[in-house]
Symmetry: C2
Subunit: 166 residues, 2 copies
DNA sequence: TCAGTTTGGTTTCATAACGAGACCATATTG
DNA sequence: CAATATGGTCTCGTTATGAAACCAAACTGA
């Protein structure tokens, strides 16, 4: 049967994964963040099959993560550029990268050294933070009773006073 | 041909996606964060096929994202619980959820209302932040020259003085 | 105690997605 | 004008997914 899709899930993680949760889409977005814009460049950098790249780019455009622009004199060259929606995947990508750097460090390389362009300072590690900036683990958060149906699409535990995470 | 894998990529995002970048793994991790531990519960909550669930759980255990524990009297019941590595996907999951809430809001529901258990305060929006806590966009960061090879697995732009993102 | 249920799988099979490579039409370059 | 770059599409063989059936080892309840 068909691969399951989550367009209509009431879990926003599922809906998000529906748009960028396959093997290639987030990597395409990552490369777009590094400045790649052309079909052939994505293809060369990622080593993705051309038909799959076509499909992914079209889907990302359809989902308003990228937009396609004609750039040639007579409209023969295209560029794929991030939309605001696409650019806002930045925290997702960086969180994933820091996780990868920490738990699967590159055999050869150093972890990502991203810096504030203005001050030259390295960025903070990504974290879920409370209002005062303190990093929170899964165990240090909860979902208020009123929102008990929100977090899970179909929770076996819904109905508790306070829904924990962990 | 076989789906491409990224075990040996020197891009940590690619390596991370290799472990949790398929349709189901992050959703399994999400549900584990909400407290699900049993095979049948994952199966019921996610609506995933049993053979696929088996495969994904095994892979997550293999990659040290979950660990499998015998809990029955005679070892007949298992629990799948998050490891530290798995728990640290928290920022990734929450970033993805906030992105989904913002750009694909639930038809019916409110966005995630996660709170600090200690203070009751809502959490901050996920963001890439500079050392002083200021949120940074893709355009406001750079990678120093020395690390120019790190960000991309095979950049067409490597060699510039400062590598931008966007 | 013994049938039925829960749990955690495995097997089989049809369908969908993927990857490689061939092919193609339209610019652009030399 | 020929060669190449660009952005695709098409076909075909391989792989992954999903549904359902099947299974064995606890556990449950009457």
């Amino acid at each position: 049967m068909a691969r399951k899709r989550f367009d209509d899930s009431n879990c926003s993680v599922a809906r998000a994964l529906n748009e960028v949760g396959d093997w290639w889409s987030l990597l395409i977005v990552l490369h777009a963040m590094y400045g790649t814009r052309r079909f052939v460049d994505f293809q060369k950098e990622l080593g993705i099959a051309r038909n799959i790249l076509c499909d992914r780019l079209a889907r990302l455009v359809e989902n308003d993560v990228l937009r396609k622009e004609e750039v040639g004199e007579h409209g023969s060259r295209q560029e794929y550029r991030l939309t605001d929606k696409g650019r806002e995947l930045f925290p997702v990508v960086i969180a994933l990268r820091q996780w990868g750097d920490k738990w699967n460090p590159a055999p050869n390389g150093a972890p990502l050294n991203l810096r504030d362009r203005e001050t030259g300072q390295p960025i903070e590690p990504m974290a879920v933070r409370s209002a005062d900036g303190k990093p929170l683990t899964v165990r240090e958060v909860f979902v208020p009773e009123d929102d008990i149906e929100t977090p899970l699409q179909d929770s076996a535990e819904a109905g508790k006073k306070q829904k924990n995470m962990g």
